[in-house]
Symmetry: C2
Subunit: 428 residues, 2 copies
């Protein structure tokens, strides 16, 4: 049996406790699979005495994660503290400087500092692994970086924030409006301390930026992700979309185009019968498309102690087995700058426009769309009593630029009430 792989864990929240549990309970299984023992030597967290349901008394304790990262008896620094800067960044840098491999679940850290950390790690002959940072228990980083290494990736898309998907599917099933379901989710503890990270699409945007870097061999460019959260999705839009055979999802999409790299995180319509459309609750799904493999769909729990710890351990086991791969699948120096596409790939759109009940109102809207070169696929107007009623339009493929221009003109029409809603319909 070879020498043990020694882990130092910084951060003993849910995921950290889950990792401790696995290492303690599965010592034999892990050793058989890795060909060497996998052990924890030291841990660090905010409070030493908190009851976490796991025994940490066998491990050396460090108050300071930076000190933990530098310990001579640590081979792999496991960063589970979170946060794009502060202690997480300092300790990760210290670990690399000390020649340690790093396993992290920290999407924010890598979305903001991935390139510099990857370069530092490669210079120090260390690896950084981050399966747990994207889509929880789903081994999607591995599938994309390794399994599909023989493909030019054309598109990656996914539902990667379980809380948002919970809110949207709960709205649909209950008929309750956004505010009520948001509050429910809050009561259930599903939301981050800063809920904008979830419902604003930031957390999912971090994940998308990491997948884009792997998929297209580009430098992580979180600033290049166009972010739109779910705060403005109404129960009416969810119901209208359902009537027409669609579901609304907070969908992340990245694709490389002749115009540059598109990275979008926004509420989109997807067919109700598609795997993405059928995804309910907190489950995550990532769709990988390559020129050879066509389409692979991965589905699984996006968060939670067990699933996230499983992803951390997948990375640990790879290191234990001697797999050493650059952070984003190829040497960091070779990653191309991600030039953001100024416009998005044309797509059909769902439009909801508040229209006054006057003769010729619809004709005016249709004329503006027609002049902008946007043709209408389907249209619905429901029976109504009010002076203003929504008209629902599915367009044929249109560019976002043409659509924005048309919507600006439509908003100015005297028969139009309020601001029109426009949601992209993503082909699945």
């Amino acid at each position: 049996m070879n020498s043990p792989l020694r882990l130092g864990i910084a951060g003993l929240g849910t995921v950290g406790a889950g990792v401790v549990k696995i290492v303690r309970q599965k010592a034999n299984l892990l050793a058989a699979r890795a060909g060497r023992p996998v052990v924890i030597t030291a841990v660090s967290a905010r409070s030493r005495d908190k009851d976490r349901g796991v025994n940490i008394s066998d491990y050396a304790w460090e108050d300071d994660p930076v000190a933990l990262a530098r310990r001579a008896d640590v081979d792999v620094f496991i960063e589970l503290m979170g946060g794009s800067d502060g202690p997480a960044k300092a300790a990760t840098e210290a670990a690399i400087a000390a020649g340690k491999d790093v396993v992290t679940a920290n999407k924010a850290l890598l979305a903001h500092h991935g390139q510099e950390l990857a370069e530092a790690a490669e210079a120090a002959d260390c690896v950084i692994r981050f399966e747990a940072a994207v889509a929880g228990g789903i081994p999607v980083v591995k599938a994309l970086t390794e399994g599909l290494a023989g493909n030019d990736i054309s598109r990656v898309m996914g539902v990667m924030n379980g809380t948002c998907n919970y809110i949207l599917t709960r709205m649909q099933s209950s008929g309750l409006p956004y505010d009520v379901v948001f509050e429910e989710a809050n009561q259930l503890g599903y939301l981050e301390a800063d809920p904008t990270l979830d419902v604003g699409g930031i957390d999912a945007g971090h994940k998308l930026a990491l997948l884009a870097a792997i998929a297209f061999g580009t430098r992580v460019n979180f600033a290049g992700v166009t972010l739109e959260g779910i705060e403005r999705v109404t129960i009416e839009d969810i119901n209208h979309a359902a009537d027409m055979g669609f579901r609304i999802k907070l969908l992340g999409v990245c694709q490389m185009t002749g115009r540059g790299l598109e990275q979008r995180m926004s509420p989109c319509l997807v067919p109700a019968s598609s795997p993405l459309g059928q995804l309910e609750g907190g489950t995550n799904m990532v769709v990988l498309e390559g020129d050879n493999v066509e389409q692979i769909v991965l589905r699984g729990p996006g968060a939670g102690m067990g699933p996230t710890a499983s992803a951390v351990m997948g990375d640990v086991m790879d290191i234990a087995r001697g797999f050493r791969l650059p952070c984003f699948g190829q040497p960091a120096a070779g990653l191309a700058p991600a030039k953001p596409a100024r416009t998005t790939t044309p797509a059909p759109y769902y439009l909801r426009i508040g229209l006054e009940d006057k003769p010729g109102a619809l004709a005016k809207v249709a004329m503006v769309l027609g002049e902008a070169g946007i043709s209408i696929d389907r249209m619905r107007q429901y029976q109504h009593e009010e002076a203003t009623a929504p008209v629902l339009i599915m367009t044929h493929k249109a560019t976002r630029d043409a659509l924005e221009a048309a919507l600006a003109d439509i908003t100015r029409l005297d028969v139009v009430d309020g601001t029109p809603v426009a949601l992209r319909i993503e082909a699945t």
Copy 2:
């Protein structure tokens, strides 16, 4: 740049031609990702002159795959000939004896000789990789062996023969009987030369046996797979199942129980709304369940040039990147014998029983089931004109042994016509 990885390909059918195409078209991409060039040096096939749509004139030619496997300028022997014995086995053994790594798409070879080949490879310090042998383009071997390495796997199940799934979903959508759809599939070229490999469940059974070995750390035991094909699935059963909210799939299931290892390949009912139930046409799906990760679902194309070549190249790239893992995830000598469970885990069953239209007929059936301790969840009998009509029963959980005994008694009842049909309902 490091030294090139040199491939020798034996078998230039669809998949072999696909691999040649990728290596030729993506030289730069592969080199960037692997950190070294990946090149083909020699090939072998039955006919040298056949037009395969790819240029093989740059490569050395060998008539004999064994000679190819031994060439000094080959680092990785890629076996795409197929067949559990004969040239595929001889050439694979020769490659290992000559110290070459092996990448194969040959499920039959490994299902029958996996253990001895794995032992030989480890003794020679070679690796054998077989992602393309299971579920086409889906990187499921990688997900299970590596991504979920921190889990005790509880169950693996999947639809792993696209032809069978095509036949079953086509029967459902068209209402046509098995024989007609089978002939359609034959005309479309979907069936193997020996169709029993597909519709008899043998091909899918090979794949299941390989996944079971990885999942549970046991020696491949294809003989331990209970095989039941789709030849006896009727359009009536498909329709009845649909009426009750189910789909019939050729489902492979393996799970480790206190009674030993269960490996079943058989037509099962699954909920129509589940990912497995929604799987249509030739697409494959594998469901992986572990104690930490809960449930991961992988979906993708199960065959075809691009997807299968993608899987081969995933293995090639791992080798190019220096990943070296025992064939079944841990050293072959440490794999435990797979003791087959003599009985299967209790499950609900779907029963179709031809019943004569006589007073008390149903009571007799119900009594036999009751005496066997099998309780009825739901029952349906449709209006009918004939003297005999099918009664459909969904049981609560029952053991296969109790069910078989009850069915034998039911078959002997004077009010029962023909042999009852019993299909397992698998929880998803």
